[in-house]
């Protein structure tokens, strides 16, 4: 959406933003002041879909000068150091952690904070010597990240192998109870030892991280990848140029039949999003000079050839519920066989168009844009009608085993990431092996990514990112807070009631 001059004044005089948030917001307003028809060559039709909220560009702006998500290969730091920052390869844990913190502040992204901060366990493992003192250093390092990378889209990966560093990291995140960094264990039951997996599952219950990703499935489809930001699966040493999203719950409004949606309206909007993406990617690669100027490129942390772009989808449940109503059904998406059929028919249209479209500068992913189940990180009113991704609307969730079986087939479409979240009852803390059974069962059913957290923890996954409930409540009172994600958490909870997810006990 374009900005207007008044936005500048609103940002400057806001009572609920920190100085740093105002600075970034000011830059974002500037990026959206220009007309994308002039700068990027958007057609009137493409622009119309942004203005009528059918396509949301997540405020990326119309002069994109860096890829949205950057996934550096931090192992380069271990082997070569960084010339631009005059850092030698680290020789001990202190040097490593210090160099990483320095490097993080130079990794761009849509939020200006790094969305990927490395395989923390494997980066640290060669330098672990004394677990007692190393633990103190690791904990301090993680706390430093929480207070300086004030955006919980910042994501660290661990696993699939067990390491001493991995265990120390898990111990530290449980003690710290910080929202940042977000974290994933790339889990493979054939590689990850059971005791390490159980330790991760327990941490996930207590502090909502690490989430579990189906590493075997992602490795097969994406090759060398990392989980970044919310739960985006992207090429390692590259990233994603852009992520706009189709608001299915908005697109559906006013159609007279499923046929009209599938054969007329949806293909038009979907095609428009694909061509819009071409224009954005071309600008970043051909005009912004990002790849010509960034030291990350020159020194091998990333390469242009490892980038792709993400084709986002949100609000499937709302689109399906709209059609169900049109067909005279009282059923709801999540507990309706017909609803699932409609859902798959909608995603098939999107999938078909995305897989036929010749993407630009995406050789790493066979010149295709990758479907992504976007969860909503936007304060727009329109998001009230767009349930995150393909998820079941909060309040309509069936019992747990049915829920997982309903969700897993929808995970299939989303090569660049999706995930489901389950709030579990307190009893699971004494029975973490039962949680692992649920996760393994989900993966065996084809699911890509699962988070399980205790329903009564303060640290909660809103959609993909983490917030503290207590801090989100501060936003409700109009007070400034450290992280922009807390503002989003407030908006998303108001829209989607994510703090009231069904609490699971006995599989219900």
């Amino acid at each position: 959406m374009r900005s207007v001059m008044k936005d500048i004044l609103d940002v400057a005089t806001s009572k609920s933003s920190t100085y740093q948030q105002k600075l970034f917001n000011m830059a974002n307003v500037a990026e959206r002041l220009v007309d994308p028809r002039e700068v990027l060559g958007y057609t009137d039709e493409e622009m119309m879909y942004i203005e009528n909220d059918m396509i949301c560009d997540l405020n990326e702006g119309y002069v994109p000068y860096r890829p949205r998500y950057i996934v550096p290969d931090y192992y380069v730091l271990l082997s070569k150091g960084c010339k631009f920052l005059k850092l030698d390869p680290p020789t001990d844990l202190d040097e490593l952690l210090d160099s990483l913190l320095i490097l993080y502040s130079h990794v761009p992204s849509i939020t200006s904070f790094p969305v990927f901060i490395g395989d923390l366990d494997k980066l640290m493992e060669p330098f672990i010597s004394d677990e007692k003192t190393d633990y103190i250093k690791i904990k301090r390092f993680l706390n430093h990240i929480d207070k300086t990378i004030v955006d919980s889209f910042c994501h660290a990966d661990i696993g699939p192998e067990k390491t001493r560093a991995g265990e120390l990291i898990l111990k530290a995140i449980v003690e710290l109870e910080n929202p940042t960094p977000n974290m994933t264990i790339r889990y493979d039951k054939d590689i990850t030892p059971r005791d390490f997996a159980l330790m991760a599952a327990e941490a996930c219950l207590r502090v909502s991280k690490p989430s579990f990703s189906n590493n075997k499935k992602y490795e097969n489809e994406m090759g060398d990848h990392r989980i970044v930001s919310c739960y985006n699966a992207l090429p390692h040493g590259g990233g994603a140029y852009t992520l706009p999203r189709l608001r299915l719950g908005t697109i559906v409004k006013g159609v007279k039949s499923l046929d009209e949606l599938l054969n007329h309206r949806l293909p038009k909007v979907t095609n428009a999003m694909a061509t819009m993406m071409d224009k954005r990617v071309s600008f970043i690669v051909e005009k912004s000079n990002f790849f010509e100027t960034s030291f990350l490129v020159k020194e091998g942390f990333i390469s242009r050839e490892n980038f792709s772009a993400m084709f986002g989808v949100v609000g499937l449940a709302d689109a399906v519920n709209y059609i169900l109503k049109l067909e005279g059904s009282e059923e709801k998406f999540g507990t309706s066989k017909r609803g699932d059929e409609i859902g798959h028919s909608i995603l098939n249209v999107v999938d078909c168009i995305a897989s036929k479209h010749e993407a630009v500068y995406c050789e790493r992913t066979n010149n295709r844009y990758l479907l992504h189940a976007q969860v909503g990180a936007n304060l727009s009113e329109e998001d009230k009608d767009n349930t995150p991704a393909h998820r079941i609307t909060v309040g309509d969730e069936p019992i747990l085993p049915i829920h997982i079986k309903q969700a897993a087939p929808f995970h299939e479409y989303f090569t660049s990431g999706t995930g489901d979240l389950f709030a579990l009852d307190q009893t699971y803390l004494d029975h973490v092996d039962a949680v692992l059974d649920i996760i393994q069962g989900s993966f065996a059913s084809g699911a890509r990514y699962i988070t399980t957290y205790l329903h009564n923890t303060d640290l909660v996954r809103v959609t993909g990112y983490l917030v503290k409930k207590s801090e989100v409540m501060q936003v409700g009172n109009g007070e400034p807070v450290l992280r922009d994600t807390e503002l989003m958490g407030f908006g998303t909870n108001s829209n989607a009631h994510v703090f009231e997810r069904r609490v699971r006990k006995d599989g219900k």
């Binding site: 085993p401 699971y428 092996d433 039962a434 692992l436 649920i438 069962g441 059913s445 006995d506 599989g507």
Partner: protein, 291 residues
Amino acid sequence: MLTYLREELEKMENKAVINKIIPFSNVDGPGNRVAIFFQGCNANCIYCHNHETINMCTTCLICVKKCPVGAITFINGKVNYDEKKCIECDTCIKICPNSSSPRTKEYTVEELFEIIQEYKLFISGITVSGGEATLRADFITELFKKVKTLGLTSFVDTNGFFNKNDLSNLIQVTDKFMVDIKAVSQIKTLCRSSLENNLENLKYLLKLDKVYEVRTVIIEEYMDIENTINVVSNILKDYPEVIYKLIRVHSSGLSQKQKQLMEKHIPSKEYVKELAGKVQKIGVKKVEYIL
């Protein structure tokens, strides 16, 4: 009562009356499990928390009249229950004079197996409980044989009161038992039935390496607490892998009548902890307590 129960059960032939199926249970053995609760019990313990699983329905029809939403009906000589209409207010269970429930269903082995198959990816195994599951040993033996083909484990939750010779086939196909030792010398006071063999059965199953855990609910006066703890601990000290779980009795959710019976007999938390200490001292490796 027991003769009546057996007759009823035999009438069912190849079907079993199931009180409840919990698709994902995390408290009935290791991992996530499908827990199946069989209707019918040979005991009637003072503190029973599943009172509605004790007897078969006698079609007295009291619940049909009292259901506030009309979910229970009497058709063709049978009490029927409409799951969709039920609001789970538990009125039917509370007013049943016979410790039974209209919310049971009959299943064949094949039908239960189909349900288990639906959940097989998400579970470590199944656990049969009750009531007293061993009353349907033949049925469960068939079920377990089929469950084995899915690579899942099969557990039996039992009160320990059975004739082991009748159960040889079931024992063979069962991976582990979870055994209650309710009391040693005061069984009749506590369980209000003349039952025996629980210790003998426990020792037998232990020798076969078929015990996952042993549990004793602690209630004062109705049972010989110290004696029970002592005897069980001395047996279990030679089996370091077996859990001994002490459970402090509680009366929440029980009927007024049951509450009155238990009122002055709930032990203090400290006492249960103290008992756990004694168990440990005798040499039991895995001691747990629930307060």
